[in-house]
């Protein structure tokens, strides 16, 4: 299966998936056929625990909709992804906040996407 298809299938099943390099152990995201850290093609899929920290955040306020956050999240396994923090006012999302992933089945292109909530544990 191709890396992109593997990722989207796992996402549709509710999983935050990433690859790990068998040789240098780097966490790899976005999905690839090789490890960008060492060039190895020996990658193994894994499931993230979904816990991470907000690395940066920007709030957009469309004229015709509710404000939303676009955030970069550093997952504890060692990779970063663009996402959004929901369940709280977008303007309250702070860099350094601990967050927990949930997979939302519907976005505007009718695909699953990973979102994050503040982690209160």
């Amino acid at each position: 299966m191709t890396p992109h298809r593997e990722y989207t299938d796992r996402l549709a099943a509710g999983e935050v998936a990433f690859q790990r390099c068998d040789d240098c152990r780097a966490a790899v995201f976005q999905p690839r056929v090789l490890c960008p850290a060492c060039g190895s093609t020996r990658l193994t899929w894994g499931q993230s625990a979904g816990l991470g920290t907000v690395y940066s955040v920007s709030v957009l306020s469309p004229r015709d909709g509710r404000p939303y956050s676009v955030a970069l999240i550093d997952l504890d396994e060692g990779f970063r992804m663009m996402s959004t923090v929901v369940g709280m006012p977008a303007g309250d999302v702070r860099i350094g906040m601990r967050v927990r992933a949930q997979v939302d089945q519907v976005d505007q292109v009718d695909q699953a996407r990973v979102e994050f909530l503040a982690d209160r544990s």
Binding site: H4, F29, Q30, P31, Y55, S56, V57, S58, V59, L60, S61, Y68, V70, L72, R80, M81, M82, S83, T84, G91, I95, G96, D107, Q108, V109, Q111, R113
Partner: protein
Amino acid sequence: MSGPDLRGAAAIVGVAESDLGEVGQDRYAIELAAQASVAALAEAGLTTRDVDGLFCAIAGRGMAPLDVAEYLGVRPRYTDGTMVGGSSFVSHLHHAALAVAAGACDVALIAYGSTARSDSGRGRLPTGPPELPSYEAAYRPRMPVTGYALAAARHMYQYGTTRTQLAEVAVAARRWAMLNPKAFARDPLTIEDVLASRVISSPLSALDCCLVTDGGGAVVVTRADRARDLPRPPVYLLGAGEAHWHRTIAQMPDLTVTAATESSARAYAMAKLGPADVDVVELYDAFTINTILFLEDLGFCAKGEGGDFVSGGRIAPGGVLPVNTNGGGLSYCHPGMYGIFTLIEATRQIRGEAGERQQPGVTVALAHGNGGQLSSQVTAILGSEASL
């Protein structure tokens, strides 16, 4: 590792802008590129018949060099369509110098045009659907601004940079633009105006963002020995360096450190110069955070000190370091991609042709291009005969 020693091997012998501003009605990018090309060649005492090397990138035209060559009626023996966003044209200068030094061509023309401003009013926007696969589109970032906003937010978090310091960059650019008759935005601007403008993607507001204008530019490059026979004083390429580490913002390793650290180190090494030798800086200010990041990464101040460095009018007219003396992408022009205009202004400052905004005794100028989401960084160091 450093590349071939190009110091002084090639020179800029002609530069020109096309019509700038809101000039795209019933016109196309290629026409503005051609208008600028003819003017830049004329300044060099050359015509399209002399061009045998062509370097171009135009948004939305996947085969821009073919389009431009056909339109101009040139038949290049060397062609480079490198497309690394707004940094393409500084990259083209580097590649053109390599090509003329190697004898692959004698007269290199770098050409650019865009009708970005007029396109937005007629539904002919150059940006299409996201390139696939995209791991970002689902989150609706407004690109490019959100990428730069994320970098600004992180710089503020890590170094205490403030929105007022970002606004200082916009105000300095405007003060330079007020000295440039070709600048698009010349009304007085205050810090308060910038802070009060509508937030587009926090922390960046409308006045932290570059203009959207129409326009084009062209630069003519030839070997140094030939340049000395042409009408204008040659502006020599002393050093050039390129670097890119990512394309999408989520893959940028550290949002507060750009690949300009590497591109500038390469350019300084080739030029055998450092930041203290630079008389004027022309850098790609798509957003106010760019100027702060690049002044740090180009070595004009330490990492994290960019906000302080730009404060109190220190990069404005009369300040300690003249930055973006034409008014930059923030206030002079920004037709889709801005990189070529850093070369045009650096050349004019070195020749002493910059009118009211001319800085005294400019022998070395730094031009820096940025492309993508703080992705591609290309630095060129240019100098007069005296700098050789």
